[in-house]
């Protein structure tokens, strides 16, 4: 969950890969071997029609299942772990799985265990948050600071470009990033979502690369990243006049 000015960062998580643990209920008993067979078939790129109750257009679309592990089979209950591309519907997957198996099936429980860089290993409950906020109001901020993380934690999974101080404020005003403004960069492809960072590791903005890292290293000038969403406030870094 993103707070206040950080709200718009959730888009990067929506677009990131996910992992779920799901309990699926089969409508008839079936040989375990058949379950494994269908599971194997349903790995890799598969076609999925979004459910009726969804916010997007209902057309068949391809989504990749990176891994599918059956964790436990108990009669008609199948517990599995699935790593999948963003925009994959697990409820629909269960339905399709049951169809393929010939028994019918539905999703009975679902837990998301990864969303981009966030995992179930370090999540917190609403109760933790409420308690921590009470402590904070009483003057102890330690617990709250364990729960509320800097926005930079939400871009850990993205390739980054670190820019020189003099380039920061123009990006904050919405300008795109040119090669002379770059100090360091990760290896990256063209047309990827890039996190533009300061040399203090603060998030400035998200953008779309128009060159890959090899081209950026080679060239001396030109456009490198089109700025899409600015997060840092203006006027934190000073305005630098161009040297011309």
């Amino acid at each position: 969950m993103a707070l206040g000015k950080a709200t718009r960062i959730v888009q990067t998580l929506l677009n990131a890969g996910k992992e779920y643990v799901c309990l699926m209920y089969l409508h008839k008993p079936v040989d375990e071997k058949d379950i494994y067979k269908v599971a194997e078939k349903f790995t890799g790129k598969i076609k999925q029609l979004p459910p009726i109750k969804s916010a997007i257009k209902r057309v068949l679309r391809t989504r990749e299942i990176y891994y599918l592990n059956i964790l436990e089979i108990n009669k008609q209950e199948v517990l599995f772990q699935i790593g999948c591309e963003a925009g994959f519907y697990v409820r629909k997957f269960c339905h399709d799985f049951g169809k393929e198996l010939g028994t019918g099936a539905h999703m009975s429980q679902l837990i998301r265990t990864k969303a981009g860089p966030f995992t179930d290993k370090d999540w917190h409950s609403l109760h933790d948050l409420k308690d921590a906020y009470e402590f904070y109001k009483e003057g102890n901020e330690k617990e709250l600071r364990k729960i509320i993380l800097p926005i930079e934690e939400a871009v850990k999974h993205l390739p980054k470009i670190w820019i020189v101080d003099s380039a920061v404020d123009s990006i904050c005003h919405g300008a795109s990033l040119n090669i002379p403004g770059i100090s360091k960069l990760n290896n990256l492809n063209e047309n990827e979502t890039i996190a533009i960072m300061t040399l203090k590791d603060e998030l400035v903005a998200l953008g779309n690369s128009v060159l890959n890292s090899g081209e950026i290293m080679e060239k001396e000038k030109g456009l490198a990243v089109k700025t899409k969403k600015v997060f840092m406030d203006r006027n934190i870094y000073p305005k630098f006049l161009s040297k011309k």
């Binding site: 969950m1 993103a2 707070l3 206040g4 000015k5 950080a6 709200t7 718009r8 960062i9 959730v10 929506l14 990131a16 890969g17 996910k18 992992e19 969804s54 990176y66 772990q81 790593g83 925009g87 519907y89 697990v90 999703m107 429980q109 679902l110 998301r112 179930d120 370090d122 999540w123 917190h124 409950s125 609403l126 948050l129 906020y133 709250l144 509320i148 993380l149 800097p150 926005i151 930079e152 999974h157 020189v164 101080d165 770059i182 100090s183 360091k184 960069l185 990760n186 290896n187 300061t198 040399l199 203090k200 590791d201 603060e202 998030l203 950026i216 290293m217 934190i236 870094y237 000073p238």
Partner: protein, 76 residues
Amino acid sequence: MNKLPFENIKREILLKKESETNWDYGQDPNKRSTEELVNYGIINLNKLSGPTSHMVSDYVQKILGITKSGHSGTLV
């Protein structure tokens, strides 16, 4: 342990040009005040089944006394 695609990418850091940062402005994200974090931070929240993502979002706003928040809720 299986990994999502981005978890398998080894990200090197390439140096384009050496540059120093001036600590008179900006700051290390880990040194942001708690007040700043409450209005510019993220929470890895374990939403229980029951309340919708939207309800949880409202509840978080009430707890923290803020007016804006967003979730990247689960597709089911």
